[in-house]
């Protein structure tokens, strides 16, 4: 698996470039997920976000997500780029691009990858509101952690 398919970057993500990594003559379907900074969460207004990562491990975990995906859907190709640093409303934080011969697997593989990113990739988000700031994660603001520790091993079925 090519290393540059899984990246943590500090500059703005160019969506087309992530998509270009997975374009193949044998693919008829490409799905992308673009995670953007949302202004309102549970009635609270976000001014901006800060993402921090354990960069080397985060890229390793992104590669693991890619390996899990290719294990479950051998015909897909996947690329993931996650941005860190300060992001404004509507900025792109993450792009997951998946190509596949047919669309069903392109959707399923993309959604699985996002689930896993939220479980195992060491990246943290700090929300800055008008009236304060908080590291998100252990206040049950994210669904994944409400259930306790992340599931580290991939779902192998």
């Amino acid at each position: 698996m090519e290393n540059h398919l899984f990246e943590i970057v500090e500059e703005p993500i160019q969506i087309e470039k992530v998509i270009a990594k997975v374009v193949r003559r044998e693919a008829g379907a490409i799905t992308t997920f673009i995670g953007t900074v949302r202004e309102w969460t549970k009635g609270r207004r976000t001014l901006y976000l800060k993402y921090e990562a354990y960069v080397s491990m985060a890229e390793k975990m992104l590669r693991q997500v890619g390996e899990e995906v290719c294990g479950k859907w051998p015909d897909v190709k996947i690329a993931i780029t996650h941005r860190i640093g300060e992001l404004q409303i509507s900025d792109t934080a993450v792009v997951v691009a998946v190509s596949a011969p047919h669309r069903k697997e392109a959707y399923a593989a993309n959604e699985y990858a996002m689930e896993r990113i939220k479980q195992i990739v060491p990246i943290w988000k700090k929300e800055h509101w008008e009236d304060g700031e908080m590291w998100i994660g252990n206040q049950s603001e994210t669904v994944s952690y409400a259930e306790g520790k992340p599931i580290i091993k991939g779902d192998k079925h």
């Binding site: 921090e52 354990y54 491990m57 990113i117 939220k118 479980q119 060491p122 994210t142 952690y145 580290i152």
Partner: protein, 77 residues
Amino acid sequence: MIQVLLFAELQEKTGKAKIKLKAGHMTVTELKDVLIDKYGIKQLDKVMVAINEDYAEDEDRIQPGDTVAFLPPVSGG
């Protein structure tokens, strides 16, 4: 020597991103106790740990030369 990495709120609470500890073999739990004692960061109890970039469990053993990262609940994506 063990290198300890702290992230997100752990880093803010301690004011440290990196700690070098003179230590021999120990378990993750033992290292947690040392750090809780020294820095008063009780949260260590509940966070994930990675040894050399692999997720680890409380009973896993740490060797001198290892890098041990304490990872608050992740919130990427």
